[in-house]
């Protein structure tokens, strides 16, 4: 993926000593065979189907798969205004949601790390938002967000604060969806960051403390670099999931008001499963996959380099 990892020419130290190198390689490939069998079939078949459909005219309610149209679908999607608008909404959502979740998550992790007692209770409460399905609690948040009957506006009203129309106001509808996503996923980041924190070895910190390093220096020099791999993995996973956001939008705002909260996947759902234009839907999916692949070739480079180097170092 990124730069080649195997140092050219050095090759791997032969370790025939351990009962024949060949059986090691065979063993390694045998280990991944079952998982790869499922992934290959259930990833490549639909991808192949989507690529094939993206070159043809396919409207399920107009005779299904029809004639070959070359790159016309790609041209139509490229010049589709709603498509680009939904990409803008998706990017806005991802940057806001993932940014907030990482900052708040790490802050909460530090908060809890320093706490002496009550950590387990707090940790189990934090898992609560995660244990509920967005399709179910998202529905309930629609009740909370109701301008007239909702609890949030009642609390704000009794404090004299303004009572916003959370899901109806074009300026704040997207931030209401972000708030729901932050509520659900910040604990995920916090729990993983907290675990990372509590797993750091003691010695370097005690040494730093002896020579009186300021907290900020310890954070910058010691804590964050050591936490980087775990946090980086969480960041990648949250970004991919936020870019594919569908459940929250489908339940809270259905893309409304207007198209203010219509993310890419929701527009894709509407095109594919409401208009049944599978050709446009597949083409959009391919654009989405392509963009993510290009981004992750660079984004995954450090993590992959770390995995492969640690794997080789131990051979």
């Amino acid at each position: 993926m990124a730069a080649t990892y195997a140092t050219a020419g050095a090759g791997r130290p032969a370790h025939a000593a351990r009962g024949g190198g060949m059986s090691d390689r065979a063993f390694a490939w045998a280990l991944i065979a079952p998982a790869m069998a499922i992934i290959l079939v259930f990833a490549l078949v639909p991808l192949g189907y989507a690529v094939m459909v993206s070159f043809r005219m396919a409207d399920l309610t107009r005779g299904g798969l029809r004639e070959f149209v070359g790159l016309d679908n790609y041209r139509t999607v490229l010049f589709d205004q709603s498509f680009w608008e939904s990409i803008a909404v998706t990017l806005k959502f991802t940057v806001a949601a993932v940014g907030l979740e990482m900052i708040l998550g790490i802050a909460i992790a530090f908060l809890l790390h320093g706490a002496t007692h009550g950590k387990t209770i707090v940790r189990s409460i934090l898992i609560l938002p995660l244990a509920t399905a967005p399709a179910v609690t998202g529905l309930f948040w629609r009740n909370l967000y109701d301008p007239q009957f909702g609890v949030i506006n009642w609390l704000l009203g009794s404090l004299g604060l303004p009572e916003p129309n959370w899901l109806g106001d074009i300026d704040i509808a997207l931030w209401s969806v972000v708030l729901f996503d932050v509520w659900q996923w910040t604990p995920f980041v916090a729990l993983i960051a907290l675990a990372g924190l509590s797993s750091l070895p003691r010695e370097p910190f005690e040494a730093a403390e002896l020579d009186g390093a300021s907290t900020w220096r310890v954070l910058r020099v010691l804590t964050f670099p050591m936490l980087a791999p775990v946090l980086f993995l969480v960041l990648i996973l949250r970004t991919i999931d936020s870019l594919r956001l569908y459940d929250a939008v489908a339940v809270l705002t259905r893309g409304g008001p207007g198209t203010v909260t219509e993310t890419m996947t929701f527009y894709l759902f509407r095109t594919g499963l409401k208009l049944f234009r599978m050709d446009y839907a597949s083409t959009m999916a391919i654009f989405f996959l392509y963009a993510l692949l290009v981004a992750s070739v660079f984004a995954l480079r450090p993590l992959l380099k770390q995995f492969t180097e640690r794997a080789q170092a131990q051979n």
């Binding site: 080649t4 195997a6 020419g9 790609y74 010049f79």
Partner: protein, 69 residues
Amino acid sequence: MTFSQAWDAGFMAVLIFLGTVFAWLGLVEPVIGRGLLSTVLMTLVALGLGGAFVAHRKRRARKLLESVR
């Protein structure tokens, strides 16, 4: 050039090829209009860029090999 390097270069070349095709459809075609000519031109340019990248990677690998020996 090890298989891993070849695979990596190949994958990046495919991404470059597709990138040029999409860029061409989006930016160049509205200017010079559609048609067989523009499609052939597009494919050539895309293949050229991809091939250039693979060649670049081959040269870099060979240079790295010499420096190690």
